[in-house]
């Protein structure tokens, strides 16, 4: 982890109104990160996406969030006005969604969408056009001119996700949040997209929050990993040490995966211990 702190979260909570009062989906999450690749893993409903999207204060309707600390690059995000927050989103922190086909505007060419993001930082139309082509080349697209003229439906999933990444890095953000960015992609394309993401983060010195349900992927790609269960972080470790995770939940998830080189007759099934719900770090 690089010395400079980029993001600090303390006692983050997200709750929803339910039949029996409010229920908390994120229950006191805290971590700090620098310009590194931080993975957040867990099963559906563990609160990993809500945690990451809280950084952008982009939550589903009805969700209420609170945090003792939510500081990004020296700025207290909780204190920002809606207007000031809009300048952080996209420009200082980018979000790469799971499926670019839903996130890209279907009736606008790729080039115009990226140019729009470039012009956020205030350049002329002509400069933005050149910069768009450079960005497309940065994400490994060789025939940048053709792709810039294309509409999202004319691109493959991998190509569309690269275009999405190009758009997100256009304003030169300090932090990228990627929410299952390769789950909709085929394995061979996944590898290319991950390599491109890795290169960009290295070259530009960005931080990355990488959300995934895939422990193998996070272990191989990230620097550090947070494991979430039931709205709390139950384990933190170096990514390369994930195979030696200590929490029974993490161990259970790792064991439940069928593995190509290690055949078993019956897969170990995760036995959930009610005590895990109270594991992790409750607010002091």
């Amino acid at each position: 982890m690089s010395a400079a702190e980029l993001l600090r979260i303390e006692d983050l909570r997200v709750s929803f109104a339910g039949d029996a009062g409010r229920s908390e989906a994120v229950r006191g999450v805290g971590f700090a990160m620098g310009r590194e690749k931080l993975g957040i893993v867990g099963e559906s409903g563990s609160g990993k996406s809500l945690t990451a999207r809280s950084v952008l204060r982009l939550l589903p309707p009805g969700a209420v969030m609170s945090a003792r600390t939510l500081t990004f690059d020296g700025t207290d995000l909780m204190a920002l006005s809606a207007r000031a927050m809009r300048r952080v989103r996209g420009q200082r922190i980018g979000l790469i969604p799971q499926d670019p086909k839903f996130a890209l505007n279907p009736v606008m060419t790729i080039g115009r969408q990226i140019a729009e993001a470039v012009r956020l930082i205030g350049t002329s139309r002509a400069v933005a056009k050149e910069r768009t082509l450079d960005l497309l080349r940065d994400v490994g697209i060789e025939d940048a001119r053709r792709v810039a003229r294309a509409y999202p439906h004319e691109l493959s999933g991998g190509m569309a996700q690269r275009a999405m990444i190009a758009m997100m890095i256009a304003p030169d953000p300090a932090l990228l949040i990627a929410d299952e960015p390769t789950s909709a992609l085929d394995v061979s394309v996944r590898r290319q997209v991950l390599d491109i993401l890795d290169g960009l983060i290295e070259d530009r010195g960005m931080g990355l929050v990488f959300i995934s349900h895939d422990l193998g992927l996070v272990g191989a790609f990230c620097d550090r990993v947070l494991v979430m269960y039931s709205g709390r972080i139950v384990e933190r470790c170096e990514a390369r040490a994930l195979a030696h995770a200590r929490h029974p939940y993490t161990q259970g998830l790792l064991a439940a995966r069928p593995r190509l080189k290690v055949p078993v007759a019956v897969l170990p099934v995760l036995e959930r211990d009610p005590a895990w719900t109270d594991d992790g770090e409750p607010a002091p």
Partner: protein, 247 residues
Amino acid sequence: MIEFENLSVRFGEGAGRVAALSDFTLSVGEGEAVGLVGESGGGKSTVLRTLAGLAPVYGGAIRLDGRVLGRRRDRAFARRVQMVFQDPYGSLHPRQTVAGCLALPLRIHRLGDVDARIAAVLNDVGLGLEYRFRYPHQLSGGQRQRVAIARALMLEPGILLLDEPTSALDVSVQAEILNLLARLREERSLSYLFVSHDLAVVAHLCDRLGVMQGGRLIETISAGDLRAGRSRHPYSQGLIAEAAALA
């Protein structure tokens, strides 16, 4: 008992015509579990859909128990072959209870003992009797997939077509469903034709795999040879390397 012989499937007309499946030949024996792997657009789901009568055959033939299948699938076919889909959220009727869903195939086929059969099949897939009156939205993803498997078993078929049945599930739930499918296959001597993009999942459940690319079967390989890396085709070798790297 299932034989695909030089099967071709094409979609569209003229310049926009796409060959979804070309010259596909494969057989699945009694009690055998055969997997189909490959990337999207490779044609693996088209194989299942063609067998189920959901996609048009352009050339070649499909034989079931030695007889060539025609255009339409009759009731006898439904009692022999059933299908489980990827998304249990989409494949169950939202306004039908579990019991209603499971009773439907029995009604269509005019079979009696409805309550007893439903109770038996629920027990078989590891769901208690209390689930009979629940609606899909009251079930977890894994429970819904158990209901979808139970529905496929209602007519006591010999063959299950499984199209990415665990891809929408969390890894811990996937393990439960894969264990269930392995146990059912043994208890009922079922044959599986199992489609998945996940090599490790297919190798876990199947004896033999077909690797598909661009609508063609480029290699068939035993699960043992796959694990040992004894693949002859560079495309398969790439898939194996990627699956092993993330284990």
